[in-house]
Amino acid sequence: MRPRLSNLAPLVIPLLLAAAYPLLPEYPKALAARIMTLSIYSYGYAVCFHMIGVMSLGHAALFAAGMYGAGLYTIHVSPDPLMALAAGIASAVSLSLLLGGLAARVRGPYLMIATLLASQTIYLAALHFNEVTGGEQGLVLEREATLVGVFRPLMAEADARYFISLLTLSAAVAGVSLLSASRLGKLFLALRDDEEKLESLGYNTSLLKLTAFSVSGVLSGASGALQALLYSYVGAGYVGIFNSVEPVLWTLVGGPYVQVGPFLGCLLVNVLGDLARGLPRGHVLVVGVGLVAFSFATGRLGWVYRLLGVSRGREE
């Protein structure tokens, strides 16, 4: 049960991304950096979705808490980006405790609606307090106060952006992989599979849910904070309902394998969307049909994943 080195095998993904860096042309490089930042959010979502089996429709609130936390800290407190990152993560975690508290009380479809309402509340608050948040229009951060701004004397901004995203993604992948192999990870899976049984064995399931949500909050918040600190913009455009649904799509497309799925799903959806960007109208339909076909395929292709030995956490 003790985590082993082999649990860190999914780190192959960031390693490949690091190796690919010199080979990638400029635009795919920029796109990869964007996708890496977003896929941290995808991992955050998967912690709730795959590990404890809670489907939330409110994760955009956590992403937003990270984004606004970091952005507003930069603007109002100090332009130190590392502290801003910490502030973003801290605000996301505190919000995630609230969502976790909801999860401890209601279940299933009720929870979906409750989380949806919670994130809509954040969205409306962002619009309502627009003197502070910039509302729909948003706020631009000083370039010098952003993470890439700090690295500017050392390397080009594009490189800084790529490696900062890569570094954070590696930490997220390692964290999630170790977590899923740990005792706590097994407890999460048990919670997903049979909550009553686990409760009757004397485990505090509410506490477990709170823990899972706060892990999810760290990841989602880090992704949101990076969004602000790497791309120097915060705005309500990132908080809408669509931003809560996106990670559901990523994790579904990526398949039920929490170590690699969130990244693969996020990669695939975003690359497909990007491919379709220059196409004329109707591309949304093309992408949609492609994704639906693909999610059917991942369901059917479960045996391929099993053959490849990616753990779904049930093989014990």
Partner: protein
Amino acid sequence: MNRRYALSSLLKTGIVAGAAAGLGGVAGYFSSRLVAERSPPVKEAGVKPIRIGFQVHRTGIGAPYGFWYERVANAAVSYINRTGGIAGRPVELIAEDDETSPAKGAQVVERLVLAHNVDFILGALFSDVVLASGPRAGELKRPYFAVSEGTHVPFGLLNRWCFQPGITDVPGQVTAVAKWIFENLGRRVAMIFPDYAFGHDHRDALTRAAERYGARIVEKIPIPPGETSFTKYFTRIPRDIDVLYHVMVGDVLTFVRELGVFLGRDRPELFGFIDSIEAVPLSAPGLEYLEGTYFWEGFPRYADGYDTPYSRFYRESVGVDENGADKSDPSRVSAYSHMFGVWETLFVIKEVVEQSGYSEPRREDYELFVNSLEEMDWFNEGLWHPQGDKLFNGRLHQSFGHQFISTVRNGRLVVIHRTKIEDSLYEHANDYTKQPLF
């Protein structure tokens, strides 16, 4: 844990990751193929085209505007190419959908610069997209031309690489029409505005103008975004005002109907911004109440509103009829007060490229281009600037121009006044020329 599984998990995960990388590679390959295939061949052998990237709201909330922006951009580029291109080079327009989303907008800027290596970017209308895109354009060192009316360019929220020469901004528009309102409709004003940046720009500009001209804003009524019913806010409208000033607050049909029911026939003068009824036919049910009220127009929707050879040529080129609707579909009303900005911006690019000797995307050429543009101070009225001449402020990167005031008569807009450029000027401390370019 099963021993075999433990031993091979590293290898197996590696295979999955490898497969994923392979998949990404294949996708990337097709992506570049797609990009390569879409670029039309160079029109004249040996002459490299000027590539202008176009971030367009094809889908999302801005789509009704995006449709017209794209139509105008294509018309202008086709005219430019028919008449010798820019500095003798053909223009190639590379349009990509930003879904009217700030996240996607910033991504489109990256695509246009890094994948297509465009010379210039013709930017968006919606403020959030412009605000998210500006910093990216500044970092990638590519001139970004907003056609947005927002204050983000003139008030210094963006950077040295962002310009707005083709359309006037909200404070300029409000400053100009406020003088006319106070002189002709009355000096006690209440205003209804949407409670976000666009509305705040109106509120602040009108408040400043009122101070300047000795008028009084007796009540400011913000409407939260997303509001669907307005009557509860109307109760705050004071009885003894001369003018009710209103800006886009949501669904205009509901707004006007409820306003009609609430105020009835004994109403103050109404002055609105065309933005609320842009791309909406005045014959829409419920808009009868607007009869006899006043509107700001950027460029008159009806052809007789500003009938010059230039405006006629422009109207013909973009395929809009006498009533401001699509020639091929009279029920599709154009975004006439905004879309001319796309036309004029493209000609500003043409003019500055030709004057500065810009030739390709590199540091020396952009230094020439940006410095020349910042030294511009005037654009003459003509085929290139059919809406009228414009004063350009190189420190603010913003144009100032004429505004139109129209009244609704027999269900159509009739222009009754055209403001002077001097009326729209205001002071601002912003100075982009002080920022380093590289």
